[in-house]
């Protein structure tokens, strides 16, 4: 098995951007995605035993988990020949894009559609959503890195007040809930813990905290389908699993009930607890880095 991983310092290209929250209207639709500005900084990533000093650059993160209506725009878009967009004065070319196959069954598992988080998409599909959204809107979107996600999730939530902030096994009624009903965290981001777990861009590597040096915008990438990291815990997890520091990672069990071979590139059959949210960074990342994020 080829296992190749590395940590990257992103190629920084500053673009004139307004460092505030905004709403990204998705063209040809009635939907928009609210984005929250999160100023970068240094933090201790990891738990008490294993951690490392880490810094992340500023980014915007979607206020809510991506909902079914918005994910459906990606599933239903009219394929066209648009293969580039412009950020600032930089032209970004895209090597073609495909959209998810129609799932052969109801992927909501009867838990709800309008206003509810999209789930059961593969990590690859969530990455491709970001690529599609970038092309549609002309802003560079991708999944958060594990570091960005953890930085954004650290907050005042604890075992005493968790019911104010998060849906978990003991208060969810055995299903995901509409996004944005609980209190937001200190950044103004909703449901980052609980409701559905969220894909992040990184491949899982157990020992990311070896180095004593400051890690700057780390991102672990390898080509393997598994294991990829997801974070935050879900409606199906006990509340003590809903921690900023808790790392979950994928394996083939997420597609166990896919009756077909090869298994779907786009759909998991056993992941009604995993969705995603998106980020936008001030720079657009280098082409090779973008390819890793989008074709993950």
């Amino acid at each position: 098995m080829i296992f190749f991983s590395f940590i990257i310092i992103p190629f920084v290209l500053f673009v004139n951007t307004d460092k505030s929250n905004y709403s990204e209207k998705i063209p040809n639709s009635n939907f928009s995605i609210d984005m929250i500005y999160i100023p970068g900084g240094e933090f201790k990533m990891g738990n008490k035993k294993k951690n490392s000093d880490t810094e992340v650059s500023s980014f915007w993160m979607s206020k809510y988990e991506i909902t079914w209506e918005i994910y459906n725009l990606f599933m239903e878009y009219e394929e066209n020949n648009k293969l580039e967009f412009i950020v600032g004065n930089k032209k970004i070319k895209v090597d073609g894009i495909s959209k998810p196959t129609t799932p052969y069954t109801d992927m909501t598992f009867g838990m709800g559609y309008e206003g509810f988080p999209a789930v059961n998409m593969t990590h690859n599909a969530a990455s491709k959503f970001c690529k599609w959204l970038s092309l549609e809107t002309g802003n560079y979107y991708r999944l958060p890195t594990e570091a960005e996600w953890e930085y954004a999730s650290i907050s005042e939530i604890n075992e005493k007040n968790i019911d104010d902030y998060a849906w978990h096994k003991n208060n969810s009624g055995g299903k995901y809930q509409k996004v944005g009903q609980k209190e937001p965290n200190k950044w103004g981001v909703y449901d980052i813990l609980g409701n559905v777990s969220e894909w992040v861009a990184d491949s899982y590597e157990e020992n990311i905290f070896k180095s004593r040096k400051l890690r700057s915008d780390p991102f672990i990438y390898n080509k393997n389908k598994y294991p990829k990291v997801y974070r935050g815990g879900s409606w199906n997890d006990d509340p003590d699993k809903l921690l900023s520091k808790k790392r979950f990672y994928s394996n083939s069990r997420l597609q166990e009930r896919d009756p077909q071979i090869p298994k779907s590139k786009w759909w998991n059959t056993d992941a009604p607890h995993i969705g995603f949210r998106i980020v936008r960074v001030e720079n657009t990342d280098s082409k090779s880095l973008r390819d890793m994020f989008w074709n993950n």
Partner: protein, 436 residues
């Protein structure tokens, strides 16, 4: 289940007596031979589902080998074999020689001749022909639902089912809810009178629909229909049959009867291009059961609409919602919830193969065919009710003369249905389409 207890009885008896009676030594050694015999597996119909079923079969038994593959198209076999190999790495269980790969309409015969166990996973129109041949040649069969696309095919499958039973052949059909712990658990609750007698129900398969394979210039009409098979009634049976059979079958199972008549409505509202062939994009059918229960069945393939795949039944004492695994009393208070989450239950697609191979090894007989054929016929009854706009009874459909699938198709045959000059196909019109 009955089979389980009988098997454990046989095993216990053998264990206790084998050391005592000489005759049992013979029995034991026979049993060991049976246990050790290499089982040769063939697959007929090498799409994604056929490939998936091969993987499950190879996982189900230590001594089974895939030795032969058949499909109408060579490229389907190549991609299937690659998918299976990719899944297993370099498994010794995959032994498909080039000479045992068969292509074309009659390829099924050669593959079945070589095997002990066959997986039948072509589109459903061909199932009666393939099943009959497999049974006539003494093979154990795993086959996907539905088992036919018309009543003529259903009768043929029912005839072969008798012969399979007489010859102690195992037949498992991919109505996998029968192999799913949640359904089995709730079936036990319902049969032990927790909701009383079922009087009504609602069953659903509503979602965005399935793939389309667009026409390629080099294809003949018949090849095009074979590639884009979902949209042609002769080969697919319409989605009320091809998918919604799962939910109609659960109604039959939980009520314990097959419907006496059906009436309903359907049509095609949004999925109506020439690439969508003949089938409807929605059906709504009332199934009436001999004991008085009425089940509303709805299936829809329309993108952007509310999705639901589920079964719900109301009884004289309460109700059951199978999707959520919940039972309610007449005051609509929750009285029972199936305790396990989806991730704690074994994969039913694997369980059906585990039980299939265990039954073969133990010399037992699983006979899923008759129920599968009658649930197939129930869905066809629903389809003919929406196509004609008339009430259709069980006796009518059981004796229907409709025969959609020609027996001796070759690549030179005309396709069973042909488009008009603009490329559109005949679509059923309620009130005009005749029941045959």
């Amino acid at each position: 289940m009955k089979k389980e207890s009988r098997r454990s009885f046989v095993r216990k008896t053998a264990a206790i007596t084998s050391g005592v009676l000489a005759t049992n030594v013979t029995f034991q050694s026979f049993a060991n031979v049976n246990e050790n015999k290499k089982l040769k597996l063939a697959v007929v119909g090498c799409g994604g589902r056929g490939s998936g079923a091969v993987v499950q079969a190879l996982n189900a038994d230590d001594n089974v080998e895939l030795i032969s593959m058949a499909d109408a198209f060579r490229d389907r076999i190549d991609s299937s074999l690659k998918g299976i190999q990719d899944h297993f790495g370099d498994s010794k269980k995959i032994k498909v020689k080039e000479k045992n790969i068969f292509i074309g309409f009659d390829s099924y015969k050669k593959a079945i001749d070589l095997c002990d166990v066959v997986i039948l996973t072509t589109p459903p129109g061909f199932r009666p022909l393939h099943f009959e041949y497999a049974v006539n040649n003494g093979k154990h069969v795993f086959m996907e639902k539905p088992v036919a696309t018309d009543a003529t095919g259903v009768r043929r499958v029912l005839e072969s089912a008798k012969k399979a039973k007489e010859n102690r052949l195992n037949v498992v059909v991919g109505l996998q809810r029968h192999y799913q712990n949640k359904y089995l658990n709730l079936y036990d609750k319902v049969s032990s009178d927790q909701i009383g007698k079922i009087v009504s129900g609602q069953v659903y398969w509503n979602d965005g629909g399935v793939w389309v394979n667009t026409r390629k210039p080099e294809q003949t009409e018949l090849e095009y229909q074979m590639r884009n098979w979902y949209y042609f009634t002769w080969i697919c049976g319409d989605h009320i049959l091809e998918q919604h059979i799962h939910n109609i079958d659960v109604a039959n199972w939980f009520i314990g009867e097959y419907p006496s008549h059906a009436q309903g409505m359907g049509g095609r509202e949004v999925r109506n291009g020439m690439e969508h062939g003949q089938i409807f994009d929605h059906h709504f059918v009332e199934f009436h059961y001999p004991g008085g229960a009425v089940v509303s069945s709805q299936c829809r393939h329309q993108k952007g609409t509310e999705s639901r795949v589920d079964e719900v039944f109301q009884g004289s004492k309460g109700s059951v919602v199978l999707g959520k695994g919940e039972i309610y009393n007449l005051e609509n208070e929750l009285t029972y919830k199936y305790p396990k989450s989806w991730s704690d239950d074994p994969n039913p697609y694997q369980v059906e193969h585990d039980k299939f191979f265990r039954s073969i090894r133990n010399g037992e007989v699983i006979s899923d065919t008759e129920n599968a054929a009658k649930s197939t016929l129930s869905a066809i009854m629903g389809r003919m009710a929406t196509y004609t706009g008339k009430k259709i009874t069980w006796d009518q459909i059981m004796n229907s003369k409709e025969n959609l699938v020609p027996d001796n198709l070759t690549w030179n045959s005309n396709a069973p249905t042909l488009p008009d000059s603009a490329g559109y196909y005949d679509i059923p019109v309620p009130g005009k389409t005749k029941f045959i």
